[in-house]
């Protein structure tokens, strides 16, 4: 079951991202090739929420601060300088990751792969990237909305039970 769900996780994440952005922000996220998603030298933000159980891993949402400000403004009904407040943006991006992972976690649980979620964490910087250690499977997908990009990385720990 775990192996089967590992294979399906990409589809689950894809559905979760489009559902969360559509529901909370009325944003239509277009699935695009990972290669087309480039943040260049723009300041970035990454929000992450982990899940652990029969299947364990972390889901990261990477985007530019510019898009994160847009997301925050949409979520909180703010504009201008208020939508750029660092604490608001961090919390909003953390909550977006939380909702995406919550969506995925619920589907996993329904398919007999129960897990629990961690609380969100945020990293800011530029040129951010995750180097996966061995025994970790990495899946990447990217989305575009109005010229802004969102890169999603899913790290799944390949535990002994997961390989069975």
């Amino acid at each position: 079951m775990v192996c089967m769900m590992t294979a399906k996780v990409e589809g689950l994440v894809n559905t979760a991202v489009t559902t969360v952005f559509e529901t909370m922000l009325n944003m239509s996220m277009k699935d695009v090739a990972v290669e087309s998603c480039s943040f260049g030298t723009q300041p970035q933000i990454a929000s992450a929420v982990g899940f652990t159980g029969l299947m364990s891993g972390v889901i990261y949402l990477y985007t530019t601060i510019k898009f994160a400000n847009r997301i925050t403004g949409g979520l909180l009904g703010l504009s201008g300088i208020e939508a750029q407040r660092e604490d608001y943006v961090n919390d909003a991006m953390g909550e977006m990751a939380n909702m995406v992972v919550g969506h995925v976690k619920s589907r996993l649980t329904d398919h007999g792969v129960p897990c629990v979620m961690t609380i969100p964490s945020i990293v800011r910087g530029s040129g951010l990237g995750i180097e996966a250690v061995s025994r970790t499977q990495v899946k990447r997908m990217s989305f575009e909305c109005g010229g802004d990009f969102l890169l999603v990385e899913v790290l799944i720990e390949m535990s002994d039970s997961g390989r069975r």
Partner: protein, 381 residues
Amino acid sequence: MGPKILTVDDSKTIRMIVARAFRTFACEVLEAADGVEGLAIVNREKPDIILLDYTMPVMDGFEMLNKLKSDPETRNIPVVMLTAEAGRDNVLKIARLGVRDYLVKPFKEDLVVERVGRIIDLKAWNEATTKAKRYDDPLQILLVDDKPAILDLIKSGLSDTNWVLNALTQAGQAVDFCSRQMPDAILVSLSLAEGAGFMLFQMMRAAFKTKSIPIFAMSVKTAVEEQQRAQQMGFSAIITKPIDVEDLKAKLARALNLDTSYRYFVQQDGVLLLKLPPNFNPHVSNDITVNLRAKVTESVDAGLGKLLMDMSPLTTADVNLIRLGITVTSLCQELGVKLTMIGSQVVSTECKNYEETKDWQFVNSYEEGLSQLSGASSGAR
């Protein structure tokens, strides 16, 4: 301030979204970042409902819910789980603890309001604070009837008002209409095919946004069973066909609590003028009686101790007029208000025929009335 809503979520974003969702309602939204903070606020503020997240640091939603349910002081506060964690097992686990509802993130703000509105009585700020609408306001009336003759009759009957009649022939169209625009009142025919009128009523009452809209059932006079069912279901009023449009307007005015007093009462020239319209009828008489005490008291409070009752447009003194006159006379005596009546010779003569009204004194014109009230002359008949 209306009901208190407590949102317990470690995400400030969610707490802000919840607060924003209820900003147009007369309620207070309290916030807590975890279960410990949440319980402290519960004990201090006694909220009317709690929106509770599941995964939180310090104390999670499950533990907080357990503590709420084990305390007799708090166990009856309705709790709605608002969490990113769905899944059948989670739902079952939480349902066993007695939550009233369960909302999964992501969510639409409207959905939160809708679900909370099913549990506690929410009123929009404008509904709770603004004064009643006036009869001459452009009210939106939604008519749902597939009979063109009924539409024509009501349309024609409402032509002397500023009310906007939106006519539809099917219940489904009415549901769509209400999702775009909120009517002030709905008139629905019970003879629509397949009980659609009753179904429309149930749908309107089940939805938070439309649950308070007055809904009138229109039914053929002889369809007694249908009318009984409508009464049991809680329709605001039953209008029988053939429709008496004046009766319909009066019932709508009552159901919508419309201010009709300005049509009859006005403070001018140092007196309170009560002007009866040419179409004086039982509905008008009732309208005046309902507002009479408040209007006379208001004028006394404003320093006007004089009432001029103008019956000049009336050509006969019927029982409604006499009843109203007696009520006015009695109230003026009670409040020490000086009263003068303006009336035609015919009305004056007819009033002489009744024991209760034989002593009423009439003047011929507004000017004479003012003069008499100021004590300058006594031209009364």
